[in-house]
């Protein structure tokens, strides 16, 4: 007769796995100096409580609102200007890095020649390098090179986003149907003309939609980059944080949330419209 057994047959292996995972993580916890206790320790709590209690009401004096408006506009301008420069760099780089424009590929069934492929690699490598260094590191470097302020932010966005856009554009060019362009190339048209009339119409929707999405990301990035001194809303947040001005931090965080929400909506509308 079957007896009732409430034990979990898999309990022991699970327990052992958990113990193993904790044993592996233990040095990690040591290294990360994890200690959530400091958050509830007496003095830091009263200090934090002081700071957070100043969050309400958010600062709203006319002077401060003017400053906030300026910072917000600056953030938007940094993102837009950065994207514009990034596009200027990314489009030629994508054309150079993409296999789509290869003449040899047109006559060899889509397989480019070895020499062309070898020449494409340096451009690809450059794009990988540009996008692999995080944008905030670029911002930090440019702040040292050109000084505090929005210029560093614009250059950082331009460089990182050129790397990302260039790679994605090159992939989009390669992913659309190659046949119209190959026909044009074999009929003797120039490369750019063949690209513009053979590939671009197919790729345009995807290109715009990705570009608008990246612009939205650029807005978020430009806020964050302000923390290393690259201008915009982030720099103001950083300043207010350092001065323990809770109410200012609160209204700036609210503005930031609004800005992200707005960019999100605008980007969805634009993508629906252009794509």
């Amino acid at each position: 007769m079957l007896s009732r057994d409430t034990r979990d047959p898999a309990a022991l292996p699970r327990l052992l796995l958990t113990v193993l995972a904790i044993a592996l993580l233990w040095p990690g916890i040591q290294l990360a100096e994890l200690n959530p206790g400091v958050l509830i320790a007496g003095d830091s709590q009263s200090e934090m409580g002081h700071f957070v209690s100043a969050f309400w009401p958010p600062a709203h004096s006319p002077d401060f609102l003017q400053l906030l408006l300026d910072a917000t506009l600056q953030t938007l301008a940094i993102a837009t200007a950065g994207m514009a420069i990034a596009l200027l760099l990314a489009v030629p780089a994508a054309l150079a890095a993409s296999r789509a424009l290869s003449l040899s590929a047109a006559s060899r069934g889509g397989r480019p020649g070895a020499l062309g492929q070898a020449l494409r690699w340096p451009v690809r490598g450059l794009l990988i390098f540009l996008r692999s260094v995080p944008e905030i590191v670029w911002a930090l470097l440019f702040v040292r090179a050109v000084g505090l302020g929005p210029t560093a932010g614009v250059l950082a966005i331009a460089i990182t986003y050129a790397g990302m856009l260039g790679k994605v554009y090159a992939e989009i060019f390669e992913s659309v149907d190659q046949r119209p362009m190959h026909v044009l190339l074999q009929a003797g048209s120039g490369r750019l003309a063949a690209f513009a009339y053979g590939s671009l119409p197919n790729a345009a929707a995807e290109l715009t939609s990705y570009t608008v999405y990246r612009w939205e990301c650029a807005i978020r990035a430009s806020v964050v980059m302000g923390f290393v001194g690259a201008g915009g809303l982030g720099q103001q947040i950083d300043l207010s944080l350092r001065m323990f001005a809770g109410s200012e931090v609160a209204s700036m965080l609210l503005t930031f949330l609004l800005l992200v929400l707005l960019a999100d909506t605008l980007s969805r509308v634009l993508r629906g419209r252009l794509a």
């Binding site: 990690g28 290294l31 400091v38 301008a77 837009t80 260094v133 905030i136 930031f256």
Partner: protein
């Protein structure tokens, strides 16, 4: 009409770009004029000789380990809190709790990691602890929402069967819901960990430990050779994570 609208839109975008440059008053000309370019070139050239002495490499190794540890522990904490918050967010404890927890999750998620890190440095002091907590807070918001969605979409039949057999709530969750949910939770957590490794390497800019703090300090001290090694280490870390995640995704996700 649509064509006219599109042209107007393009003009508006063009105007926005021009207005942006005008608003920033950014003379890109000023960048190239005079010896500015030469100065920037000289600055960049100082990065070309990375400091590869063994002492510095050891410090970087420690920084990289610290970054990895911050991201791993932060993600793990976030996964635990995310699951705890996902249960009410998926409506398991009634409508009021659901909307309250959703609001909390949105707030956690909306504030970027770096802002959390700056706040945590104020609250918990300089060092990797602040970075770990910042990652945990932001990621808890992200994972909580993803987990809640996964929880809503998971089939309810197994859990109901256990309940009908007389099993308790907890048993039904652990043996009915969790086995179905588990792979998805793991996939989301690993994906966020990947993001967090990248993020953890820059959180140090506001004083939250790891490679970022080393980079910030060496740049502030004008030690470009040391800074360049740190940048190389970050680059290796990012490329390594990319390669690893691409490989695992190809190996497990496509076939699965």
């Amino acid at each position: 009409m649509r064509r006219l609208g599109n042209i107007a839109l393009l003009l508006a975008i063009l105007a926005a770009v021009v207005a942006s440059f005008a608003y920033l008053g950014m003379g890109l000309g000023a960048l190239v004029e005079g010896d500015n370019l030469k100065q920037m070139g000289a600055y960049a050239a100082r990065f070309l000789q990375p400091d590869l002495s063994s002492g510095h490499l050891q410090a970087i190794g420690r920084g990289a380990l610290e970054t990895l540890a911050m991201s791993a522990v932060g993600t793990l904490l976030a996964a635990v809190f995310g699951l705890l918050l996902a249960l009410p967010a998926a409506g398991r404890f009634g409508g009021v709790a659901q909307s309250l927890v959703r609001l909390l999750l949105n707030a956690l998620r909306a504030i970027p990691e770096l802002v959390w890190a700056a706040l945590m440095v104020l609250a918990a002091g300089l060092g990797p602890n602040a970075g770990t907590l910042a990652l945990a807070l932001h990621t808890a918001g992200v994972l909580g929402r993803l987990f809640a969605e996964a929880l809503e979409n998971t089939p309810t039949a197994p859990a109901e069967a256990i309940r009908l057999q007389g099993g308790g709530q907890i048993a039904a969750f652990c043996y009915g819901t969790l086995p179905n949910l588990w792979p998805q939770l793991l996939a989301y957590t690993l994906y966020r960990w990947e993001n967090n490794i990248r993020m953890a390497s820059v959180l140090g800019f506001v004083g939250a430990g790891g490679l970022g703090q080393m980079l910030y300090i060496s740049l502030s001290l004008f030690q470009e050779a040391q800074a360049s090694t740190v940048i190389l280490a970050m680059l290796l870390l990012v490329l390594g994570v990319d390669a690893l995640s691409g490989w695992t995704r190809q190996r497990w996700v496509r076939t699965g």
